[in-house]
Symmetry: C2
Subunit: 546 residues, 2 copies
């Protein structure tokens, strides 16, 4: 109350006019308004919103009976399946925190995370039983109770838990009261980022941010009610970019996909009438690279969201030819997934494909619910000029920025220094206010004292018609300090391309000092999301050190 | 911090991860992302988002120089014009409160409001100079500084202020720092509800609620980026249902309309490519009742949002024939305008028009960002059975429920009793979870101890092909206590319809005790929003008392 402001008197919060924001209210609404609409398609399982919500209530109730309460962590390691979707609601409604594990991790990483998160329960697909058994052995602290997802779609693995997920659900009740969190500033999820050095950091997000970013996804994408969303993106990845909650808001349909397989993808697009999906550029590449037979199954327009790397011009062109519309987004685990969108302008539609691709290759502008996005000197916080050239660090401010790193006050403080979230990504600000990543701090190549953006070199390589994928990293060099080393995956049938061809192509399109000194052909190491693993390339590049 | 919950330690709010919610950030975003897109069309004025934002900054800066600060009220009495739109941003960014005045009010009402709100500044279209001069004379407290909107479109009135709106803007600077509110629980607007007894009550809303309801409008309507919105709804009415802020969120275009005039409406729909508009059923009626020549100007599909009264079947049918799609919403000034939507189901599309209209006539389900909506006994708060028959009071809970009534703790406490906002509207809950209004508490007719819903009787009257509009109220009756009295406006060319015809039509469609005892023909008194003024009908009905 401020006595000089009459609008602070007698106008306080009360239970009728203040409710903590939480995306968990969305599923309750969909179950009430569209109870018979299909919420989840997973193999032969089809659950309506009413059924899905009932299962979430059973899960919550069953976990509560096991003693799970506010502040406890429940871990889950699963493919994109209905259980994973349910976990995004049934765990946090208890005030507990969902920790989704990257399915590609090895036992030591998993053991570290289970210990660090002090997980009370681990729900896991039996396909991962072998690595999980090993991880449990390696744990130092108390082990979680293990619940098996005994999926009929699992192709391997044993049951190693004390009960199955269905047993667990059977022990719960649908009469569980679905109450929002006490406080919107309450943790909803914990997600570990794969650091290149040291242990992974645990990103903690909250109900308020998840609510806002789930809605921001809708605004960035103009995504209407009842959209049909294909899960090409792993749900363990930043909680599927908040899309489990987004889908609940619009009473949409989640079409689950255990593995990225183009045949299965086109089958589901056709059968379920998929309208939207997300993925790294490689996923989109696979889709347009499918056989004409497969591609002909899709007649309607499908919206694709791309992140992790800018979509090259050639990809954009073939996506358009195949009646896909692409929206480019950017974000980090620390920003709940995408928080920046390359919002299209009508004028761009008239541009030649190359220019259009250049516009769309930029990371873009803030999500509606991100309050500020700048490119600035990381120390002085002075924004760089909007000239498209001066490199600075990309800084975020908003409600969809994480609470901090779990049990890591130093890293938290460092990430938030000066009142901004420091992304560690380097970029430029274009005159029209769109940002573009030039590199991760650690990906900048410093050659003879000059900064070389590895992304800029990659972008040129992607222009070459024979190149499928390219990753450029620093190679130690006694003379120059570092030089660019290019790893290249060729399109089938282009094996005659030589390193000299590549270097000569580069010379035509960039300053000489930026031209790769080494060119290595072969399949590139990628993450489960299709992102090229630069730290592996850096290891490989050391072999070429001079 | 809760020491037993590790997720409360070292994960606090800081300037990077917590920003108060405010719809004022939307205009900043549109100005940055779509600076050259047209924000406002008003007569011969066309302002882009960059220009519009610059004008808002000038307004804020100029008001600040006049001494306006946090907690001050700035009143505005204007048609739907660019100045009114700008006021929704330029006033609240100072922490000041925008008070928009209903342009149909008389001097005594305006004087009461200016005194009660302690307005420091009154911005007014010169068309209202005569009533404002009178209101200023009647005021008891300090008078506001008057600023004239000297619109070239004004057809009458004098300049009575100390400066024009353009003079005011010229005294401001575009370098004004656009900072969000200190606190999202800070008043943004004050709107008076026209009570039928006693003085009007001042509804106070805040930044958090305006932000959420502005976005909820998008979700309820699947309203995409760059929608073109025609202002058939007065902006003074619950801040135009939050649509000034909604349009800023999606970088849409505001097409201003001083008066509801079908010729002008169709001209603007055609010329500006209008995609969306809102209004009471009467507005939609006028639109489909326009000459075929006018109607033929609109080729594309247009979305209409209807509130204030359920859209009758005949109206829905002709809207469909004319390629309008109607969404029915419901709310109150206390809920920031619409907070309930009759969310359509695909299955309804196949229904015969009568059944479809019955489904759409229901008020519906909670907005995404309203957390709870029930029909309950107002004393025990026990929900009524979902049988579509048992009448209870419609109660709301959520962030888009007002802060309270200004300087009226008793009314505030009464409205929020039991932790719910009491709407004063009586309704039923259908088995599918959709609510339907049966009446305002005061509109129920009690005849021989039986409750008669005036809306139910009206709905039947609207089914008659000769009836354009109908209002049913209680008529005092010595025998029955009250009896229904019907006021009827006929469609042109149907003047031969008699009271006996109407009564006989009613007998066919309702229980005898509900049939109006009196039928009065003539034009119905309506508010500026096209809502039938029942309190006037009640006065008129007294002449028929027996």
């Amino acid at each position: 109350m401020n006595p000089t402001n009459p609008f602070t008197i007698g106008l306080d919060k009360n239970p009728a006019n203040y409710v903590p924001l939480s995306p968990l209210t969305f599923i309750e609404r969909s179950a009430a308004v569209h109870p018979h609409h299909v919420a989840v398609v997973d193999g032969t399982h089809r659950y309506t919103w009413a059924e899905s919500f009932a299962r979430c209530k059973r899960l919550a109730s069953a976990l509560q009976r096991l003693g799970i309460q506010e502040g406890n962590t429940v871990s889950i390691m699963a493919h994109n399946c209905h259980e994973m979707f349910e976990a995004h609601f049934g765990i946090p409604v208890l005030g507990a925190v969902i920790h989704a594990i990257n399915t590609r991790l090895d036992a030591s990483n998993i053991a570290f995370m289970l210990d660090h998160a002090a997980s009370k329960v681990l729900i896991a697909d039996r396909e991962f039983s072998s690595v999980i058994r090993e991880a449990l052995d390696q744990m130092k602290g108390p082990k979680p109770l293990v619940v098996d997802i005994d999926s009929p779609q699992a192709t391997s693995g044993d049951r190693i838990g004390e009960m199955t997920y269905e047993d667990l659900l059977a022990s719960g009740t649908i009469d569980f009261p679905w109450t929002p969190p006490r406080d919107e500033w309450q943790a909803i999820a914990l997600g570990y980022t794969s650091g290149t050095t040291g242990n992974p950091k645990g990103v903690v997000t909250h109900h308020r941010g998840a609510y806002l970013n789930a809605i921001s996804n809708l605004l960035a994408w103009d995504m209407p009610r009842h959209s049909v969303y294909l899960w090409t993106l792993p749900m363990f990845h930043c909680n599927g970019w908040c899309f489990p909650w987004t889908l609940a808001a619009i009473s949409g349909t989640n079409v689950c996909l255990r593995k990225v397989d183009t045949e299965k993808i086109y089958e589901l697009i056709e059968k379920e009438g998929v309208t939207h999906y997300c993925g790294a550029p490689i996923v989109h590449n696979w889709m347009v690279g499918a056989s004409p037979d497969l591609r002909s199954k899709k007649q309607h327009k499908v919206q694709g969201m791309v992140a992790a790397a800018p979509p090259p011009a050639a990809l954009l062109a073939s996506m358009e030819e195949n009646n896909f519309q692409i929206t480019h987004v950017y974000g980090l685990t620390e920003t709940y997934g995408p928080a920046v969108v390359c919002e299209p302008h009508k004028e761009w539609e008239k541009l030649p494909i190359g220019n259009k691709a250049r516009m769309n290759a930029r990371q873009g502008v803030r999500y509606h619910m991100l309050e500020a996005l700048i490119v600035a000197d990381p120390e002085t916080l002075e924004p760089v000029p909007a000239d498209g050239e001066t490199i600075g660090e990309i800084l975020f401010k908003g409600n969809n920025v994480m609470m901090g790193y779990f049990k890591n006050p130093e890293a938290t403080e460092n990430a938030f220094r000066g009142g901004w979230f420091h992304s560690g990504d380097l970029g430029v600000m274009h005159p029209d206010g769109y940002i573009q990543i030039r590199d991760r701090s650690k990906d900048i190549i410093i050659s003879g004292g000059e900064n070389i953006s590895s992304i800029e070199v990659q972008d040129v390589l992607y222009m070459h018609p024979a190149i499928q994928a390219a990753g450029v990293v620093a190679c130690p060099d006694t003379k120059w300090g570092e030089t660019p080393c290019a790893f290249i995956e060729l399109k089938p049938g282009n094996e005659s391309l030589t390193a000299a061809d590549v270097i000569s192509f580069c010379r035509e399109h960039m300053a000489t000092f930026k031209v790769p000194k080494h060119v290595v052909f072969g399949e590139l190491p990628k993450t489960s999301t299709g992102k090229i693993q630069k730290f592996k390339l850096r290891e490989m590049a050391k072999e070429h050190a001079v």
